[in-house]
């Protein structure tokens, strides 16, 4: 056999992997268990040394750490730094880890005390601005999606094990959607971020006649202004566009102008 290849310092033979979660629904980890048909094959490819949601056995000698969720409290920073120190490869696992996910919607309120009061009243509760992993530690790989697509996870893990370069599609969801010969959601009267969102999900939502909400973040060349023109042309408000654009935090830079426009539209509320 040829000399074993390695990728980012990880040897090819059954890498030791661990799963962790910060602020999240833990759904991305469950997606692995949800893949019944290939679960046992997947488990033969890697050695899982830590996965609290599914196992009590626990070791810290992992090479690849999959971290789900966003950072929302100071104790998570220390935990993430420790994981970063131990892991050769740190994977941001799912949109909460990559962009902040739906959790970051609370960042849109300037008054963070109001957010706390709205849920807990006068009870003291500790929470910070929601951040993606890469705002706290260096991240080697990002696996996008809310939820992650199990085929995507398996492809990326297989690439890692085989020492192949991990590539994400640069094209938008529209490409996947057209390949599946779907009727365009705009023609069905539905708003959709498919033209600007990173593909590779096989147009999971549009296949089911749900317009894209942008969970995988922007495609490489995302013409947001042009999509906004299309949305307006089809009678969708700036608010509808903003709801989707700001939903998972992947379009951070593009949302601010739109948010101002929506606030003005609604008279400053």
């Amino acid at each position: 056999m040829a000399t074993p290849l390695s990728y980012l310092g990880v040897e090819l033979s059954r890498p030791k992997v661990a799963f962790f979660e910060l602020s999240s629904c833990e759904g991305c980890q469950l997606q692995l268990l949800n893949n019944e048909a290939s679960l046992l094959d997947f488990l033969s490819l890697v050695e899982v040394v830590q996965f609290r949601e599914a196992m009590t056995e626990k070791r810290d000698d992992y090479q690849i750490a999959f971290v789900e969720g966003s950072v929302t409290r100071s104790d998570q920073v220390a935990r993430l730094v420790e994981i970063r120190q131990r892991a050769k490869v740190l994977v941001a696992f799912g949109s909460c880890a990559c962009f902040g996910g739906v959790n970051q919607l609370k960042n849109r309120f300037a008054d963070s005390d109001w957010v706390k009061r709205e849920v807990y009243g006068s009870f003291p509760i500790d929470t910070d601005t929601v951040r993606p992993l890469r705002a706290v530690v260096p991240v080697d790989l990002e696996i996008y999606g809310c939820p992650v697509k199990k085929e995507d996870v398996e492809r990326i893990v297989t690439d890692l094990v085989l020492g192949k370069t991990v590539c994400h599609p640069k094209y938008p969801v529209c490409m996947d959607c057209k390949a599946n010969e779907n009727i365009c959601l705009f023609d069905l009267g539905e708003p959709c971020l498919g033209p600007i969102t990173r593909g590779g999900c096989d147009a999971w939502c549009p296949n089911n006649r749900l317009g894209c909400w942008g969970c995988r973040g922007p495609a490489e060349v995302a013409n947001v202004a042009e999509l906004q023109r299309i949305m307006t042309e089809h009678g969708f408000s700036a608010e509808t566009m903003l709801d989707r654009l700001e939903c998972f935090g992947g379009f951070g830079a593009y949302t601010e102008e739109l948010a101002t426009m929506v606030r003005n539209e609604r008279g400053g509320t």
Binding site: S24, G27, W204, D243
Partner: protein, 424 residues
Amino acid sequence: MRLNCDIKVNHLSRVEGHGNISITIRNGEVLEARWDVVETPRFFEAILVGKKWENAPYLCGRICGICSIGHTLASIRAVENAFGIEPSAQTAMLRLLLKHMETLQSHILHLYFLVAPDLLGTGSVLPLVGSHPEVVQRALRLKMLANDACDIIGGRRLHPTRTVVGGFTMLPEKSQLDLLRRRFVDEVDDLLRTADLFASLTLPDFVRETEFVSLQGDGSYPFIGGRLVSSDGVNRPEEEYLPMTNEYCVANSTSKWTRLSRDSFAVGALARLNNNFDLLHPQARQVAARFNLAPVNHNPFMNNIAQLVECVHVVLDGVSLIEQLLGMEWQAPRQEVVPRAGTGVAAVEVPRGILYHAYWFDEAGRITKADCVIPTTQNHANIHLDLQELARRYAALGKTDAEIELAAQMLVRAYDPCISCSVH
């Protein structure tokens, strides 16, 4: 008599989310037995404020990675109740079928992946792949059936895509449903073998009397909407969820706690079964009888068996739902939605118990206030008080630290807590 014991389990494994168990016994006296929830809050109720109605089900499904379908359906029902939308019979049946399959998926995941390892003496399902391959294969068959059904009806097993206010974005093919029906019939045998497996294992014999809260079935075992009932005799309409839950904050828990007639109450499969036993499918009742499970059962460990009984119920009820759906002329998948100002409350039985979503809307259909009361939130106080009683009894019996620790962990797992969901 156990004299001294210190147990500290940080981030209990094989549960969803982050919770800690602490037990301290000195000179035979339980000084402390605690269930602390340390999960970070995500503030969903604040996030929803200012958002239009169509955001609610999409965002709220993401409260939970296990019961995303239940949250989505509760959210949809709350919006529909606020806007005065009555789902068609077709929509109601498809939603119930989808709900059933989430129940099956979640219960099987819990029974085989989270509970069985304790009873078979392993730390996870992984060693069972080698030692009990038929058990693991059976678990995967059942889970795959449930998840395939969720894909076919809801569009996706996690964070469903087709479920919207007013109905569905699109419908399954009738041929897909017919195939599902045949798979349901075939899988009943795997459920009976699951009953064989659990009948061969021993659950702790532990009883602490409590109050059980659930929906009250009206002619059928309850899942979506209806009156709220407790085993202590409380009975209220769906919209009166606040006096049924009475949430309050406690130190050392980022999840709220709840109470009704006593210091705590329990929700979940055992609560549903205790309050609605006669409405279970006869074959499900037979499985219950095999475990001497009859109302009102106060052993929290029997929640595992109640889940098994419900698995049998949902699969057999699923067969009958599909037969009815196949015999119907199908209408359009979705009805028109016209927003209006008002309040909508929904109570839905999700795998871990009764879930409430309530929203207040302005004239444009924007949310001005939101409230979600999660099943595990309602179970935390009961888990905490159970742990105290368990520690006292096991200390009096002279059990070892390891025995007390395992029993305490198994007790919490029996509730199948969804902790990040409870904090949301």
